[in-house]
């Protein structure tokens, strides 16, 4: 056994400066809600006019309105224009690899029940390279909020066809117009078993905030598709959903039963611009709760035992 195998003493922290850590930090009871200035970090790198600005602004608003502290949330993203999100938010955050933000976020969610995990990403991240993770995170009902900023195009790589590009959309990878049938994110989410499925658009800020709040309050995997226009590569894509551009913003009908999966699916089948609001919501136990339940059955059984004593029980059986 080498020295390295001997338990390390608690490891000193690095990069924490020389000042006394606790002096500058107000007591928990003295803390006021954060201002926009306090939650904003880097200036976004998005193009002027990008729909993503609106989503970011409303995320700030959510944090302000709901008095969320920096350290109580984690912002996670994969790769894409929208996935630059964590850099713009003053909170613990991670910018992960393309398409895999959901399993990364699941690791945080399942091991850190004290944090609320927000994941932001685009349509390529969610439905193309990360399609498998979308289905499985939804079916497992892992607690987190996933906001997909859907712009129907690959923006960061400059105009290739995306999984949500409509048929006929001319891109650099489909100069004749897209030939592959697009994914319907709502149908995908409902079919996968997501327990909160909502649709909104960046041009209606109040509605975006409403959806974010409802999603955050949902105990489970909450999914929001937020239409977010790419002014550079798909200008006008969502005009028909924007009353200011002569389109129609229709809320989900008041009599829609959000617990009715088939009704939700039907709603998702409406032609664009369709409806906006919560399509589907159900209360299934989360994976987080189910794992905690398994653990509870053991914590009762091993009450009072130290970890090494539990392990010793196994070793005694191996003699």
């Amino acid at each position: 056994m080498s020295d390295i195998a001997i338990p390390f003493a608690p490891l000193p922290r690095t990069g924490i400066g020389l000042s006394d850590a606790l002096v500058t930090i107000p007591l928990e009871s003295d803390r006021k809600g954060l201002t926009k200035k306090e939650v904003a970090a880097d200036h976004p790198t998005w193009c002027p006019g990008c729909g993503d600005f609106s989503v970011l602004a409303l995320y700030f608003k959510l944090i302000e309105k709901r008095k969320i502290w920096h350290e109580k949330i984690t912002t996670v993203a994969g790769i894409g224009c929208s996935s630059r999100f964590p850099y713009f938010v003053q909170a613990h955050g991670a910018h992960y690899i393309h398409g895999r933000a959901l399993p990364f976020a699941s690791g945080i969610s399942l091991s850190r029940p004290d944090l609320h995990v927000f994941v932001f990403g685009g349509d390529g991240d969610a439905f193309s390279i990360g399609g498998n993770h979308f289905s499985h995170t939804a079916r497992k009902n892992i607690k987190m909020t996933y906001c997909v900023m859907d712009n129907w195009v690959y923006g960061l790589t400059k105009k290739q066809t995306s999984p949500t590009s409509p048929l006929g959309f001319k891109s650099k990878t489909d100069q004749w117009g897209a030939v592959d049938y697009p994914i319907n994110p709502m149908k995908q989410a409902i079919a996968a078993g997501a327990t909160f499925v909502a649709r909104t658009t960046h041009t209606n800020p109040n509605h975006v905030l409403q959806m974010m709040e409802a999603a955050m309050d949902h105990d489970g995997f909450s999914f929001i598709e937020c239409l977010s226009e790419c002014v550079e590569f798909y200008e006008g894509a969502f005009d028909s959903s924007n009353p200011r551009k002569g389109g129609a913003f229709n809320l989900v009908p008041a009599d829609h039963d959000v617990t009715d999966e088939f009704a939700a699916y039907k709603l998702a089948d409406q032609p664009f611009p369709g409806s906006f609001g919560i399509f589907y919501q159900s209360t299934k136990p989360t994976k987080n709760a189910k794992e905690a339940e398994i653990n509870k059955s053991y914590s009762d059984k091993f009450k009072g035992l130290k970890d090494w004593e539990i392990l010793k029980k196994n070793f005694d059986k191996l003699k």
Binding site: M1, S2, D3, I4, A5, P7, L11, R13, T14, G15, I16, G17, D20, A21, V23, T24, I25, E38, W69, H70, E71, K72, V76, P86, Y87, Q90, H92, G93, A94, H95, Y96, I97, R100, P103, F104, S106, G107, I108, S109, L110, S111, R112, L115, N132, H133, S135, H136, E291, I294, N295, Y298, S299, K301, K306, W308, I310, F315, K317, L318, K319
Partner: protein, 604 residues
């Protein structure tokens, strides 16, 4: 059996008893015959009798059926490998007989099931043949249900008789194993065992008796390498993991899935390999080192995420239980051909740590080391184990769990400020604060795969890319100084130095023992730390005329195995040459010696 056999006649026993140092027993049948169970019982008995034991098994990669063997070597002294040749072969079928007779020592004993095996006259001269109607006697003993299930336990009874094994201990083991089930199961097992034990060999066979093993201070535990590794992770304080099933890694994830909830942790079965490593990285980022793992193909899938962990400097433990590759390869055979992907796999310069356990016991402690290196250096660490260690059973001294088990809960004490990638630290070693930690300055860190500044924000600065690349590299250079000094097995000068890693260590050391016994100046070193390499190897190499790297992989386009190529690149030392093979089987001591002697006689 052993060279030092002598005769002794215990009081009260009319038959002749031969005292032996050790025995190698190979049991050959089909995979559903419960052959592994016999081996398991023998191994566990050896552990409880303070003997040394090592096993070797092959299983077909088909779901059910197909030939299977289990070899167990039990000794009163040190046992370093599963044995080149068997002293006894138990064979259930004609194919087992014909396939494995050559694994037997000349003059060795073939104990065959006379119901299924017809001995060949040409082999009867060279090996002692003893036929027992194992199948029909088992059926007779259990009560004529017409099924020969239980012939493994019957055979265990035969072995107990031949090797004068400790009956109370074995009976207890059988009761423990089958206890808890339907009581008739234990009863049937004991009936089979007793039937075997009371079988009369008349004068066909002597009884053998092991010399008493040296008294050990502590109890021994008996387990396979995958179990040892998984328990090591638990002892190290790992409480979260994620994985996807693949042979031979699956045992580890099954064990962790079963055990972690007892400690308030979880192991998650994910939708794919990429999700597995991503989830583990997410949990690690959450503040406590997490584990993922796989075998060959799964490791290929994980490399992009591994690169992210290297770039974002997230601590993580990744287990690679190597099997025969490439592609689906030979899923149930051993190979050491993942060294390259583990050290270098991935795009860009992505330094990571690779350490390789050499035995079952070592797997337990290596897991703890991996966790602690990952924590201290905030880096991904790969535990490069292999199928041979994963599946073989060894007995080793019970670890002092009270002393070893560690608590690695995250620290959430607020900090005034925090730079996740602080460049002012000379050696490059920085650690993250876990999300949930308050930062007084109000400036929160981002962890990222983009090249970044000290706060984790993206940068295209040429200078920062140079500095951050150096930081990630330098911290592993620093780590190399943490490693214990490499020691040679045998004198530190001589003709030949055998360099090995992973499961090859045992047979290499046995080769050294054997060679030195006949006066050859051969020594060996085992390299546990593969990436970075430990410091001071060049000094050791200087003491030998030849340096041969013994590994289970292909010699490649340029004639050197994977570690040999790294060592040659690192030391520019032409006397480093390779001894490799790709038959999917562990090294035999004889193979190593023959190859080393031949190579030494050839010009460099």
């Amino acid at each position: 059996m052993s060279d030092s056999a002598s005769t002794a006649t215990p009081a009260g026993s009319a038959s002749k008893v031969l005292k032996i140092e050790e025995a190698v027993i190979r049991i050959a049948g089909n995979s559903q015959d419960g052959i592994q169970a016999i081996g398991g019982f023998l191994a566990r008995l050896a552990g409880r009798s303070e003997q040394e034991v090592m096993t070797f098994m092959t299983i077909p990669s088909t779901i059910s059926g197909g030939p299977s063997i289990f070899q167990v070597r039990i000794g009163s002294g040190e046992v370093l490998s599963a044995g080149d040749e068997a002293d006894m072969l138990i064979c259930f079928y004609q194919h087992s007989y014909e396939e494995h007779i050559t694994s037997l020592k000349l003059g060795g004993i073939v104990l065959y099931d006379a119901d299924h095996v017809t001995p060949k006259p040409e082999w009867e001269e060279n090996y002692r043949h003893v036929g027992v109607n194992i199948s029909s006697l088992t059926v007779e003993a259990v009560g004529g249900t017409g099924r020969d299930k239980g012939k493994n336990i019957f055979s265990l009874g035969l072995l107990a008789k031949i090797f004068d094994l400790n009956i109370p201990k074995l009976t207890k083991l059988i009761e423990e194993r089958f206890g808890g089930k339907d009581p008739t199961v234990v009863q049937n097992a004991l009936t089979c065992f007793n039937a075997g034990y009371s079988h009369s060999f008349e004068n066909l066979l002597k009884t053998y008796q092991f010399y008493d093993a040296e008294k050990k201070d502590k109890h021994q535990v008996v387990m396979n390498g995958n179990e040892a590794l998984a328990y090591g992770l638990i002892a190290a304080g790992v409480r979260f993991g994620a994985g996807y099933p693949i042979t031979p890694w699956s045992d580890i994830m099954e064990l962790l899935r079963r055990e972690l909830p007892k400690y308030g942790g979880s192991f998650i079965q994910t939708e794919d390999e990429i999700a597995a490593i991503s989830m583990a990285i997410g949990a690690s980022y959450g503040g406590r080192v997490a584990v993922t793992g796989s075998s060959g193909p799964g490791i290929s899938l994980k490399t992009e995420a591994l690169g992210w962990a290297s770039m974002a400097e997230i601590p993580l433990v990744i287990v690679d239980v190597q099997r025969g590759g490439p592609s689906t390869g030979m899923p149930t055979s051993v190979e050491q051909s993942d060294l390259n992907i583990c050290c270098f796999g991935g795009h860009g310069d992505s330094p990571r740590v690779v350490i390789a356990p050499a035995s079952v016991e070592d797997a337990f402690y290596t897991a703890i080391e991996a966790v602690n290196i990952a924590r201290k250096y905030s880096t991904p660490v790969i535990i490069l184990t292999d199928q041979a260690i994963a599946t073989r059973i060894e007995a080793f001294e019970e670890p002092d769990l009270e002393k070893i088990c560690q608590d690695i809960s995250p620290d959430f004490t607020p900090v005034a400020e925090h730079k996740p990638y602080d460049l002012s630290v000379g050696d490059g070693v920085t650690r993250h604060i876990a999300p949930g930690t308050r930062v007084g300055s109000g400036k929160y860190p981002v962890v990222t795969g983009l090249e970044h500044d000290e706060m984790g924000h993206p940068t295209g600065s040429p200078k920062l890319h140079v500095q951050m690349t150096a930081k990630r590299r330098n911290k592993l250079r620093k780590l190399a100084w943490d490693f214990p000094k490499v020691k040679t097995y045998g004198p530190n000068e001589g003709q030949i130095l055998l360099v090995g890693w992973g499961s090859s260590e045992g047979p290499i050391r046995e080769a050294v023992d054997r060679a030195r016994a006949v006066g050859e100046a051969i020594s060996s070193v085992n390299l546990k730390y593969i990436n970075p390499l430990p410091n001071g190897l060049e000094e050791i190499f200087r003491g030998f005329r030849h340096v041969f790297v013994v590994e289970l992989n292909d010699e490649g386009l340029y004639g050197y195995g994977q570690l040999a190529a790294v060592l040659r690149a690192r030391y520019c030392e032409p006397k480093i040459r390779g001894i490799t093979k790709t038959d999917g089987l562990t090294w035999k001591v004889k193979e190593i010696l023959d190859r080393a002697r031949t190579l030494a006689s050839q010009q460099v």
